[in-house]
Symmetry: C2
């Protein structure tokens, strides 16, 4: 019994072990079967045939890979690759280097490079968008918005909604009681609004007079003069002219451009002519990274551009807020007849940009806090350098309470408005050019040639080079002082 | 022995089976381990943290998913969803239905719907781009081309290269010896070129006279009149005006617009004034899906727009080919000063579109073969219907040899130029409107009101509705005939 019992026990033990082992085998095989089935029969693989990629993506994959491959190329931190860059010998776009950098990967510094502080290129915000790559990316299908019309004629209703919300949340403009008019850059709005405010050409009334207080943004004058060239007129059909050699015409109301904060000197401005003129108020820089916001602006006609708040200058997108129905209608007609408004491609891209800005206001990823930090520190560095020389001075800007940040904020202007103080530096632009700094002469702003504008809206590299040239200037100035000479 | 041998054999057999089973267990467990390791330790998961997706994508993934999700929504084939569409109650953009369709998924047909054959909206090419979704998609990073400048000032050098290659490969224009000037739509080029060809406003010479042979595209007249409004003038700084109430205060050369093929009647055109005028030749429709190409065009100034060859009207992208250096320079200056040219976003998008068109010329995915098939069949259907009535007639277009297709091709015009033949139908636009067809009156083209334009550049749905209304008209006409009445 003992032995028989032992043998029975052993048999049961073996049978139990066998069963357990079989259990393991079956479980393991089942698990393998699940893995194999998952690998080969997953819905994405079955339905979307997506090339072994588990994202569930199909048609957007190739473009997404191309964009990420290009973004991953290193240009030493002094340049970048764009998908539409010029293709090199390998057929791929190469690094486009910042000014004063060169070489295939932009690692070569140009010695004694001239600082270009001319245009107001808002590249200081590029690092912000790199940091928020996922939220600011956008994918276009080949058939996106092929039609002339979108949800609101030529304007995206959703983008309108986001822009109104942004003005409300930032508190820089009252948008709700105004028409919103899109254009391909605020530059296009200059003439659209002048046109909208002027009497019909056929009316007996004299033409409007377009003015601005100096120093003013030169495009107001340039564009008004160009479009008012009186260089041509419509003369009917060729039938009138084909078989013959027939070759046989005082003062109006004012339109005043007001830029606030002003370009070049960053001061908040009011109309000068007031009641006697219609004012077009250009608020391109009325955002918390460039100026304090005392209160929401509420003028009848206001201009804005995406190039300053978000930095997307290349997208060519601007908008106007217009109180009067008739003025808005005439501006829209002008835009329709000149180019049918802003690209619908750009409108889609801007939608994501605006949504992200709005979603992060006053949070740790606030674009205005980021922008203000950069611009304030640039102004501090510039002011510190300039304070060490008697040769040039900058405009005075006091710290002011800002309703957006809810505190007194330090100055952070987009431009330095420079005055040359030495008697011999009558042409301040030329004086700085001799110090290898390209600026924009005060003459262009209808101000004295003693003034010139230094742009602070550039990339970090550009600003660093500018500071180097300024330090050289300050040092040379000191050296000259100690030698009793004042030539530069 | 027998028994003992049998027992030994049985023991060996059991041991062998056990070993085999163990082998299976170990193998299976090893395979489990490999699968698990593969699943949790794959390089993409470890290095890119891409959410379990093996594509190697990171920042573009969210946007790609959004675009594909939107593209996958079904709108019954009679509408579509766009990423920037108006958001519904669920926060997602909903179906935007084609004309004459409604309901949440566009499945509801509007009974007796009026056919809109007014504008030349090139949606007939949308199915082409849906079919080639992967090759025509594009992904934008948040920092793409933030700068004002791109590789060639305001123009992408790569896009220029593709456009020149396309003209060469299609054989519709000689581009190599000309300047290429981009604009936000060819509409913007109208005035840019008139400006470039006109004398300076300050010069003593009289203004240019802008003309065209009827019937002509109305925008030439509208825009020239609008920009020559003489409604305003630059009057200097406010300092001149603030403290006072000061308020005191022939004929030139010809510029001829020539559209070829002509809009509205599809005829190939030549300048009428010839030597006595500068000609701006608008070749918007000089592509093989709309007309035969007898030879590459080689005029001094030619206009093109992407809206006709590729169908991307919403992108607002046009270009000019200009022989003369000075004219090209003046046109570029005009574009710089009015809006700094076409959106850099659009330029990137167009690059992919042009590359794909070019890579597939004369192959099975040729866009012009596709477009010609659609437009020819529309013309055939329209002609067949119209031939059954005496009420209206169409322009005659003969089959012609086309150098692009290398054969005689059937007519496939963008527009039908309709003449109302009945005495009482003096206003052809009104006559068709009574039949619930919206057209564009001949009067707009400075032609007789007996003519009106029917656009064939619409979606398939639009064309089907147009054909329904036309069949109604033809049938009513027959019914009237048999009753001896001629009222409609």
């Amino acid at each position: 019994m003992e032995a028989a019992g032992g043998e029975q026990h052993e048999t049961r033990r073996r049978a139990g072990a066998g069963l357990a082992l079989l259990g393991v085998v079956y479980s393991s095989l089942l698990l393998n079967a699940i893995f194999v089935a998952h690998h080969f029969l997953s819905p994405s693989r079955l339905l979307l045939r997506d090339d072994g990629c588990g994202c569930g993506l199909t048609w957007s994959l190739q473009a997404a890979r191309e964009a990420e491959a290009v973004a991953a190329v290193e240009c030493s931190g002094h340049g970048q690759v764009f998908v539409d860059g010029v293709a090199g010998e390998d057929g791929r776009p190469g690094c486009e280097c910042n000014s004063c950098f060169g070489g295939p990967d932009c690692s070569l510094r140009t010695p004694n490079c001239t600082a270009d502080a001319d245009s107001g290129n808002p590249l200081f915000l590029e690092p912000y968008w790199r940091r928020h790559a996922a939220a600011s990316a956008v994918v276009f299908s080949g058939w996106h918005r092929m039609s002339y019309t979108t949800t609101g004629g030529f304007q995206s209703v959703e983008l309108e909604r986001q822009i109104r919300r942004l003005h409300g949340a930032v508190g820089n403009a009252v948008a709700d009681d105004k028409h919103l008019v899109f254009a391909s850059g605020s530059l296009q709005l200059i003439n659209a609004l002048v046109h909208a405010l002027s009497p019909d050409a056929t009316a007996a009334s004299p033409p409007s007079r377009v003015v601005a207080a100096a120093p003013y943004y030169p495009a107001y004058r340039q564009q008004t003069s160009m479009f008012d060239g009186r260089e041509y007129r419509w003369a009917g059909t060729t039938a009138l002219w084909a078989n013959s050699s027939r070759a046989n015409s005082t003062d109006g109301t004012f339109i005043e451009f007001v830029t606030s904060p002003n370009n070049p000197d960053a001061l908040l401005r009011e109309p000068v002519l007031r009641g006697s003129a219609a004012a077009i108020v250009d608020h391109a820089y009325y955002w918390p990274h460039f100026t304090h916001i005392p209160a929401p602006a509420d003028e009848d006609i206001m201009m804005f551009t995406v190039s300053k708040p978000s930095g997307h200058a290349g997208s060519r997108f601007g908008w106007a807020l217009i109180r009067d129905d008739e003025v808005a209608k005439r501006a829209l007609e002008y835009l329709r007849d000149s180019n049918m408004g802003a690209s619908r491609d750009t409108q889609l891209r801007m939608l994501g940009i605006f949504k992200f800005m709005l979603a992060n206001l006053r949070g740790k990823d606030d674009i205005f806090a980021f922008g203000h930090d950069v611009m304030r520190s640039r102004w501090l560095r510039l002011s510190a350098a300039v304070s060490r020389t008697r040769r040039i001075t900058l405009q005075k800007i006091a710290p002011q309470y800002c309703t957006y940040f809810g505190r007194v904020r330090e100055p952070s202007p987009a431009y330095a408005w420079v005055k040359c103080e030495m008697e011999e530096d009558e042409d301040c632009y030329e004086a700085l050019l001799k110090a290898n700094i390209i600026t924009r002469s005060g003459v262009q702003y209808e101000a004295s040639s003693r003034y010139t504008r230094i742009s602070l809206l550039k990339s970090d590299d550009d600003f660093d080079v500018l500071m180097e040239r300024l330090e050289d200037l300050v040092d040379a100035d000191k050296y000259d002082d100690s030698n009793g000479s004042s030539s530069m």
